[in-house]
Symmetry: D2
Subunit: 106 residues, 4 copies
């Protein structure tokens, strides 16, 4: 509970600070909570006989858009706080590889 993930990551600089800044965590959490509420309403609609597939498609796309936005905010925070500081810290290669891998992930 005492920051191992972060320290593992920041072992080179050893600063032990939280990785994702609190402000970004709050914004992303807010957006994901909204996406979750939206998912709930789709699940509710799917219980009804008269639900129309195209409406479900549209709702799913809307949630995907919300997740895309949450991912962008996360990425932007990561670039600012961790990637932009990599040369100063000396871990450019591992930071870039890790991020490229995460962006490709699906």
């Amino acid at each position: 509970m005492n920051d191992q993930p972060m320290q593992a990551h920041h072992s080179r600089s050893g600063d032990g600070r939280p990785c994702m800044p609190q402000a970004a965590r709050k914004v992303v959490a807010h957006r994901l909570a909204i996406a979750k509420g939206h998912l709930d309403s789709i699940l509710h609609a799917l219980e009804k006989d008269q639900t129309y597939c195209v409406d479900v498609l549209r709702q799913i796309k809307a949630v995907q858009g919300a997740l895309e936005k949450a991912g962008q905010i996360t990425l932007e925070s990561h670039l600012r706080v961790h990637v932009a500081t990599a040369a100063a810290r000396g871990d450019v290669e591992s930071m870039v590889e890790e991020l490229m891998d995460a962006l490709r992930y699906r």
Copy 2:
């Protein structure tokens, strides 16, 4: 051959018969419920100081992948039940325009 789903949609009579076939609704609901659980675990992680942005990015991508799959199942069902029958029913233009609009939506 008495396919209520189609008639429900196209009669626009509000008779309450299903449009999206029940089997597809169940499969999509199952996948969306899993995606929702996954979103919940990201929300939980975002409450912790030591959460790492790249892990959040990866988790969001995973949920997006799950939604993509749910969307594909919805689309496939729609193509089979409603689009493929459009010429026989006589509403090709409206069905195709509606679907293209939904697929472009973001």
Copy 3:
């Protein structure tokens, strides 16, 4: 006007009649030709020392957008001419599977 495109595809007789309607082929070809010209200008820029990565990224995204649009036009034509007529013709399953497979392809 008398449905050759459909028969050409489904007869599998190799009679050489068009599958993709000529109008759609022309529109898609026009857009792909523009995309090709755009690719050419990126290739030209990449020969220069002073090319900036972010400009290359933006140009590549623009070409991807053009291809996305060409794909949408192709899909719309396919839905209208081949998928919407599948029930009347009796090959719903193969048409839907084929299309879903193509849409998933990457």
Copy 4:
């Protein structure tokens, strides 16, 4: 060699070096040249009556995949050479905003 785009970008450090490293430019150019050849073969196919829409869709997706890969290589190079060095150079905000803008572009 005194091309404003680069210098404009690097005016803060004033080093005037080419922005996108030559190695990355060559790899990206190689991939884009292949994508262009692929586009050419689609254009050739689109001149023929018997071209099938689903094949065109698949080919377009393949070119999109090639462009996606070229974009990834460009991004990776940009992260390594320019973004990772931003804190050391003192232009984190402008670098991150510029990149987020380019990634959102469509």
